[in-house]
């Protein structure tokens, strides 16, 4: 049995290199990003003044922000891994392996992929070190010595990524059934309660109030804490109502659809609004962050005395940190979309093949698949930017006057977010074409 299992799992895949390269690439990018942030931030812990604490707090916030897309990427990679091994896992079930054994093997495999990716990520990080060293904080470049991490930290991150992959694989596999007839997505009717909306509006109102009294808060730390609470609360709300709004829009699109591609796209979003949201939620975070942070910085900047060099530097550094975090989450979103799409294409391989036989042009299939991502993406990016703007409303007037550039930054972030998702879709087009050709 063991030898047979090993052989089954070691055979090269039939679904092409893209399916195994994608998760490995994704984990490599995740690891090098984590190491970059950790390496850049370790310098902060050598600072012992008042500002040092603020820097440390912000570094933790950035890490936490990156962990969210990281976890969903891990889950996507696990689902892809289960599907990629569809035939083998099904064979194992036929050979009499229990679902638990088969699930354990799928988790193990995604951990192996994660470790391979993490090791590649360490190499990538070393290649990046000279560049990271150039990033200025508090007016000085960090320097090679400042950003180079020790062996314990490197090992810790690799182990952490592996653990995360295992955890999200377990969660990801709860959404698929591995039966003797193959891996498929569980058929769950999407249920979203209206109570979500009530809770959402309440939280946004509280955030709005917090932002309204922000100006009377005395110390920088209190302001940061309130910003953090409003930020976290609103992101939680976006996660709560995002799928609901996506479903609402898709319902009306399905009714009005006139072309096969539009009908297919709307119906596939309706199939699982939550999955549609998960694919693009990373962009919601970044577009939200862009508005929130852009205007927030402008506000903080207006507090700082013209002569207060340290405060001005802090604001400039927060900008740098945000830029790194935004770029980082973009990369993860692109990977996430690529990995999710790859999983979806493999999942529907036989269906795509049959549609090709029926004479459905491959471009129609590709358009449908693209629309099924891009339409929720537009709703999400714009919706979360608007939500952020509402929460920031008590402050925006001032912010826009002080920093008209922040609007340009927001638009730029939105456009790039949509752009990277589009790239993720483009990267998986050859897989679709191969699936359709059989």
């Amino acid at each position: 049995m063991i030898a047979r299992v090993a052989w089954l799992l070691a055979r090269p895949g039939t679904s092409g290199a893209a399916a195994s390269l994608l998760p490995v690439t994704a984990f490599a990018i995740v690891t090098s990003l984590l190491l970059t942030v950790l390496g850049g931030a370790q310098t902060f812990w050598t600072w012992t003044d008042d500002f040092g604490v603020t820097y440390q707090a912000l570094a933790v916030v950035a890490l936490v922000l990156l962990v969210v897309p990281l976890a969903s990427l891990g889950g996507a990679a696990a689902r892809l891994s289960a599907r990629r091994r569809d035939d083998r896992l099904a064979t194992l079930r036929l050979l009499g392996a229990t679902p638990a054994t088969v699930s354990a093997l799928a988790v193990l495999e995604s951990v192996v992929l994660a470790v391979a990716g993490a090791l590649a990520g360490v190499v990538l990080y070393f290649a990046l070190v000279p560049l990271i060293a150039l990033i200025p904080f508090r007016g000085e470049a960090l320097g090679i010595d400042g950003v180079l991490l020790g062996v314990p930290a490197l090992a810790g991150v690799v182990a952490g990524v592996a653990l995360l992959a295992a955890g999200s694989a377990v969660l990801g596999l709860r959404q698929v059934v591995i039966s003797p007839l193959g891996v498929r997505t569980k058929q769950e009717a999407p249920k979203l309660h209206w109570l979500r909306i009530v809770i959402g509006i309440a939280v946004i109102a509280i955030a709005f109030l917090m932002m309204s009294v922000l100006q009377v808060a005395g110390s920088m730390l209190v302001i940061l804490a309130m910003l953090g609470a409003a930020f976290g609360g609103t992101i939680a709300v976006l996660n709560l109502i995002g799928p609901w709004v996506i479903r609402l829009v898709a319902q009306s699109q399905a009714r009005r659809a006139k072309t096969p591609a539009r009908l297919l796209a709307a119906r596939s979003v309706l199939e699982s609004p939550k999955a549609a949201w998960r694919q693009v939620s990373g962009v919601a975070m970044t577009s939200f962050m862009a508005v929130f942070a852009g205007t927030g910085i402008a506000l903080l900047g207006s507090f700082g005395e013209a002569g207060d060099v340290e405060a001005m530097q802090l604001f400039a550094d927060i900008r740098t940190g945000i830029l790194i975090t935004v770029v980082g989450s973009f990369l993860m979103v692109a990977c996430s979309v690529g990995v999710n799409q790859a999983a979806g294409i493999l999942d529907r391989g036989e269906l795509y093949r049959s549609l090709d036989m029926l004479g459905m042009p491959t471009p129609t299939m590709d358009t449908a698949r693209r629309r099924a991502v891009m339409s929720p993406l537009r709703i999400t990016a714009i919706g979360s930017a608007v939500t952020a703007a509402v929460v920031m409303l008590p402050l925006t007037g001032a912010a826009i006057i002080v920093a008209p550039l922040s609007l340009a930054v927001i638009a730029g972030v939105l456009a790039s977010g949509i752009g990277v998702v589009w790239l993720g879709l483009l990267a998986t087009k050859p897989m679709l074409e191969r699936a359709a050709a059989g």
Binding site: Q187, A257, K258, T259, P260, L263, L264, R267, S268, L270, E271, E350, L351, S354, L355, D356, M357, L358, G359, M360, P361, T364
Partner: protein
Amino acid sequence: MSSFVIEASGLSKSFGQTHALAGVDLQVRTGEAIAIMGASGSGKTTLLHCLAGITRPDAGTVGFQSGAGRVEVTALGERERSRLRREAYGFVFQQGLLIPELTAVENVALALMLNGMPRARAEEYGRGWLAALGLAGMEDRRIGQLSGGQAQRVAIARAQVTGASVVFADEPTGALDSATSAEVMQALLDSTTGQGRTLVVVTHDADVAGRCSRIVDMRDGRIVGERVPGVTA
């Protein structure tokens, strides 16, 4: 006008070392139901795919006689064959292979929408076909809410709704029990030969083949015999 709707000659097709088809000649008459039988791996699916313009054979030709004249299928490019398949042919597969997120009527209407028919009219035609196949009242169900036999009827409606002159079916009853299998086969025959259309069906099932007008037997990529059901070879 020739009485053959499809004429294939000298078809051969290899996958690596495997000679899936090793010189097949076959003529399909207009309005007949022809069954292709044979052991697993004997080349039935490959033959069906070559006849339907899905796969291009390594050698040999396939001609299709349409109302507008004869088309040399093997000489057409990828796009023209794709168009021929969606306009002139219908397909029924073993697993239905319907689009799971669409409703029954949308699955059927999609075939017409791909040919440019407006959605409302396409769905109207779709409803008509579903009703004719005994699925009235189930138009708005999703595929997952249908039984295997019902899903297969939806697939038959999809294959027929465009007015396809030839329907190709690859083990259409392979996943069904024998009672359901007989019903589905009857529905398939009624909607094809019953309307003067042509049916090419690959099957393992002697009962299914027995309902056709002609049976060809395949072995190792060749046609090794031809029978009329009820008459022992």
